[in-house]
Every structure is written in C-alpha cells, then in structure tokens.
C-alpha cells in the first residue's frame, strides 16, 4: 500500500474507532490537557505500528492493545494525576455535567469510582463495559481467563462498595 493510501485507510479506521480512544483517555487522565496529550500519543503509536498490522488479530483488539499499553506505560502522566478526594479538584467536565437524567448521574458515579481503581483494574473494567469476552480480554491484556474472572469479581465487589459508600455519603469525592 502506498503512503497516501495507507494514511487514508488509517484515518478512516481512526474515525470509526475514535470513541474507544476517547474512553481510554478519559479513564487514564484527569485533566483535559493530559487527555489531549494521551490521545495524540496513542494516535502516533497506532500510526507507527499500522504498517505492521497484518490483520491476524481483530483491528479493535490491536487498537486496545496499543491504547492501553500507551496509557499504562506513561507513568509520568499518571503521577500528575490528582486524587479525586477534594470536590474542588474534580475534573471540570464532571462538575459541569448537568443533572438532567439518571443516566448522567450514574455515569458520573461510575467514573468517580473507576478513578479510584488501579491502572490494571481500569483496563479490565473498561473491557468489561465494552462487552468484551474473556477470550478477547486475554488477547488484549495477556492475563489468563481464570485470573481475569477472579480479578473481575473482585473489581465488581470493589465498585459495588465504592458506589454504595458514595450513595450514603461515605468516601464521596
């Protein structure tokens, strides 16, 4: 494939799957600037690896691998993260969300809870919410399916506790 055709194919695929990238950025970054930085970094890494994409795995699997590898490995950005314990330090978008429905409220509670998970747990939660099978999760993360099930049960329990605490005002950010 020639360079312009390659670029065109890449941009087309990016436009189809950009939702995934935004979700990864929203999960791993706390400020808008960091989110844009991470988005840029993921796109650069995807573009660099694109010529070697042979289609052996599904495109989305390949994309998740690169996006999560980039997000998890960039520890500097994570160190800049603000712990969401002070309401004044909540991400602006969460503060600005209008409570116009139960859906937004639930999503906000979910994001608040996910922000308190570790980097690995965040990746697992995201793949679970994206309705990926354990087989696909294994292909992306490289963790055995049995281990994934154990971890996922633990995360669900953790999130249940966190959201309950939030609902009762305990540990509410």
């Amino acid at each position: 494939m020639q360079a312009p055709e390659l670029q065109e194919a890449f941009i087309r695929l990016m436009n189809e799957h950009r939702g995934i990238l935004h979700k990864v950025c929203r999960l791993y970054c706390f400020t808008e600037i960091d989110r844009q930085d991470l988005f840029q970094e993921i796109v650069i890494q995807l573009w660099r690896s694109f010529p070697s994409f042979r289609g052996e795995a599904k495109f989305s699997t390949w994309l998740y691998r690169i996006a999560l590898n980039t997000a998890i490995s960039d520890l500097r950005r994570q160190q800049r993260r603000i712990t969401p314990t002070d309401p004044d330090l909540l991400p602006t978008e969460l503060q600005d969300i209008q409570y116009n429905g139960e859906k937004e409220e639930q999503l906000q509670v979910l994001y608040n809870a996910i922000n308190r998970l570790t980097e690995v747990e965040k990746a697992l939660t995201m793949l679970y919410l994206e309705d990926k099978s354990y087989q696909e999760m294994e292909e992306i993360l490289g963790i055995s399916q049995n281990n994934l099930r154990v971890k996922m049960n633990r995360i669900k329990e953790k999130l249940r506790k966190m959201t309950k605490e939030t609902a009762y005002g305990i540990g509410k950010p």
Binding site: W62, I66, Q78, E93, L110, Y128
Partner: protein, 213 residues
C-alpha cells in the same frame, strides 16, 4: 450499582468537553513526535551522543595538528574514550529499541519493559563506573610511554635509591583510581535511581498486580 447494568450507559456516553479532531487534525497528529517515555529517553541519548561528537572530534583534530604533533598522544587518549562512548551509545540505543512493543499484549509489553530497563540500568551503572579506571589506565600507559622512567644507572647506593617521579608509581594511580571508582559507582547509582527508580518500581508493581491471582 451493578456493572452489568451500566454497559448500555457506557456504550452510549458522549465525551463532553473533548473537541473531536477532524481528519485534517488527525493527519497533522501523524507528523508529530512521540512524547512517550522511551521516545524521550531515545532523544536524550541522541542529544548526549551529539554533544560527545561535537566536542570530541574538534578536540581530537586540534590535538593532532597543533603544537607540532606533541599532543597527538592526547588525541589518541580522547579517541580511545570516544570509542568507548561509541560502544556505550550503540548498546543503549539497542536496548531502547527493544524496550517496548506497543502492539503486544499489555502483560508481555510490561514484562519486556521491566527486563530491558533493568539491563539498561545495569549497563548505565557499569559503563558510568568503568570510565574512571579506564581513563586512569590509559593515562598511566600514555605517561609511561611518553616519559619512560630510566632505570637507575651506576653502582652507588644513592643512584639505586634515586626516586622515580611520583606520577610514574602504579601505587599513586591505584590510590587515585580506587576511591574515584567507588565514588563514581555510588554517584551513578544515586543518579540512575533518581532517573529511573520510580519508573521501574511502578512497572514492577503493575506486572505483579497482573500476575497475582
């Protein structure tokens, strides 16, 4: 709150506040340089390499052609150290190129990063420390070669006890080399830990978390 029930909300969420880059903006992003940790390390190493190249080459040439060639031995010493830097630069770049595989599974990429970063740190420490005894040894050899100490001649006792210059004594060089090498080892270890200590610790923690059941 059950995670299962949130899948629909998750799938239909919008991204408030995040401007959607168009195709043109995406194309512009492709021309930008990576700001990831490995790319930054590679750029720093390239910068280090350029500094060595731009300072060593003119100095070597200067020592070779000026002062009627009297300092040519100094240029040989610098060339030797420069060669050491060449090997150092090549090996570090090789390790940095091996350091990540973004399209691999997340766990194997983390394991690769930990292993390669460990090798990188070990090499950094060993080469950073070895440069001191290497320079001292080369200086000692050059001084002995350029200013050979004549063996004591004559049969009288004071001729035999005639002291050789202080710099010709291997004990002096050893006394100089040992504390400097030890000091350099600790200084390098501190600096490397400052640079990569937290990074490798965090990577190890992530890997441990992925492996634990």
């Amino acid at each position: 709150m059950e995670l299962e029930n949130l899948k629909h909300i998750w799938a239909t969420q919008t991204t408030p506040g995040t401007p959607e880059p168009g195709s043109e903006e995406l194309l512009a992003l492709l021309q930008k340089k990576s700001r990831g940790p490995v790319a930054r390390m590679r750029r720093n190493l390239a910068c280090e390499g350029r500094i060595i190249l731009f300072t060593y080459i003119p100095t070597i040439v200067f020592c070779q052609i000026e002062f009627q060639g009297h300092l040519s031995i100094l240029s040989a010493l610098l060339f030797g150290i420069g060669l050491f830097f060449g090997i150092y630069y090549y090996r570090k770049m090789q390790l940095l190129n091996e350091m990540q595989c973004v399209s691999c599974m997340v766990r194997s990429n983390l394991a690769r990063q930990v292993t390669t970063l460990r090798k990188y740190i070990r090499f950094y420490l060993v080469s950073g420390t070895a440069i001191i005894p290497l320079t001292a040894f080369l200086s000692y050899v050059i001084l002995h070669w350029k200013f050979p100490v004549r063996p004591a001649t004559g049969t009288r006792v004071y001729h035999l006890l005639e002291p050789s210059p202080w710099w010709a004594s291997p004990i002096f060089w050893l006394l100089l080399m040992v504390p400097l090498t030890i000091g350099s080892y600790y200084l390098n270890a501190w600096y490397i830990n400052k640079l990569y200590g937290r990074h490798i610790k965090k990577l190890q923690e992530l890997l441990r978390e992925m492996d634990e059941e």
